[in-house]
Symmetry: C2
Subunit: 255 residues, 2 copies
């Protein structure tokens, strides 16, 4: 059976069960057949998975037969946010930044080859940038570039895909230009993106450092371009400097 060559001691049943969880998370109220089809598995297998997950409260079945994440998931989720220092410490800081900047603030980490949003805070105004915990973005576009910039050179090169897909007209797609931009980011310590990911948005971002000085995450403020002047970007930047310092300090970093 020439199936998956590389597999390091993974329990398949658990692995598909996790896939099922992810699927339910991504498609609320989805049904057995959908999941089976999306994952390319047989229905009985998925059914068994779902039953097991339901048994433990990780998913629940609506009276119409759709599946949702369950209460145990809430419990595990809040436990996670208490256990992960980064989130625990960053939470209040993000809130405070969102209040002061009156724009959306996000905390992102690098998850393998992508940037992953793991926390956010949104201002209470009608028009605002919408952030989603769990959303992934390429590392080379927009604010996420900071996560790339401070990486050891070999790893950085490894993580840069051969071709840089352009998300908007302003996305940097030339590798050389990107490398140069990363250099600038490392020098100045921050990154400003104007419409690289989404035409109408601008954002400022800064690195967050761990106890050993390594860059663990990036915080950024994202705003609609039309209401954001240069002066605002400057303000956001200094707010972020303060916020990043606070989080980094909480993680044990002393410059």
């Amino acid at each position: 059976m020439p199936h998956n060559e590389i597999k390091a001691d993974i329990i398949q049943s658990v692995d598909v069960a996790i896939s099922v969880l992810m699927e339910v998370a991504a498609n609320p109220d989805c049904r057995l057949s959908n999941i089976a089809r999306s994952l390319g598995e047989t229905k009985p297998r998925i059914l068994r998975s779902l039953r097991t997950l339901e048994h433990r409260g990780l998913v629940q079945k609506t009276h119409e037969g759709g599946y949702l994440l369950g209460n145990a998931m809430l419990v595990l989720g809040t436990a996670a946010s208490m256990q992960i220092d980064l989130v625990k410490i960053a939470g209040p800081v993000l809130e405070s930044l969102a209040l002061k900047a009156y724009e959306t603030v996000q905390l992102r980490i690098r998850d393998n080859t992508e940037a992953l949003c793991i926390a956010k805070a949104e201002p209470s105004r009608d028009l605002r940038v919408h952030a989603v915990v769990g959303r992934r973005r390429p590392l080379y576009a927009g604010s996420s570039k900071v996560l790339l910039a401070f990486l050891p050179e070999d790893l950085r090169n490894e993580l840069l895909p051969i071709s840089l897909d352009s998300m908007t007209a302003r996305t940097i797609t030339e590798r050389a230009k990107l490398v140069q931009e990363l250099e600038t980011i490392r020098a100045t310590g921050y990154c400003i993106s104007r419409g690289e990911v989404s035409e109408q948005l601008v954002s400022v971002s800064l690195p967050v450092r761990g106890y050993d000085g390594s860059v663990l995450a990036a915080i950024n403020i994202a705003a609609p371009a039309f209401r954001t002047q240069e002066a605002d970007l400057d303000r956001y930047r200094s707010l972020l400097v303060e916020g990043a310092a606070k989080i980094s300090a909480g993680l044990g970093w002393s410059r």
Copy 2:
């Protein structure tokens, strides 16, 4: 093997993997051997589970070798709070109540034979009641009684344990008295607990209803007894009436 007789199509490997998750959630930074011992499983089995979970980012290993919940868990957790109507709708209401009452507010559901806290909001004052999402309490003591009161009679009797353990001197331990109290709660529509669960605490609670009028949850405000007058309890009660109505309405209930 005279082990567990009743089991309805549960995948064991997944089941223990979930147990492992729970264990990691409850004991941050715990180690392989601990988990294996707590669960009464062999080390290799748990190691395989952990590896699989780590592979998918549900847990992560600290450089010291302890295990924590991982980033994927955060994602699933926030997905859960967006999917579960009750939490989604109640969230802002709880926040607003906590602000007005300036005391801790909790949302609880019945999970089998226990009350389970699935959301909370705490005021920003130094001395406050500490609530934990995921904490379980018996159904018959304190605020949780509302969850019992509105249940169909047969189920209610089934869920009452033979002996009511007293948590404090004020816990109701006589079954007859409890039944009478439940009657009162049903009649008045709310429940006040004075030190039934913890000596120094008082709390008021009300039922939250689903689209069909069934009681899905209970919200309560808990406060230190020493700073809570009768008038405060009254205020909390009317705040809760308002809040419960808002949540119930959000769930599709029209009296």
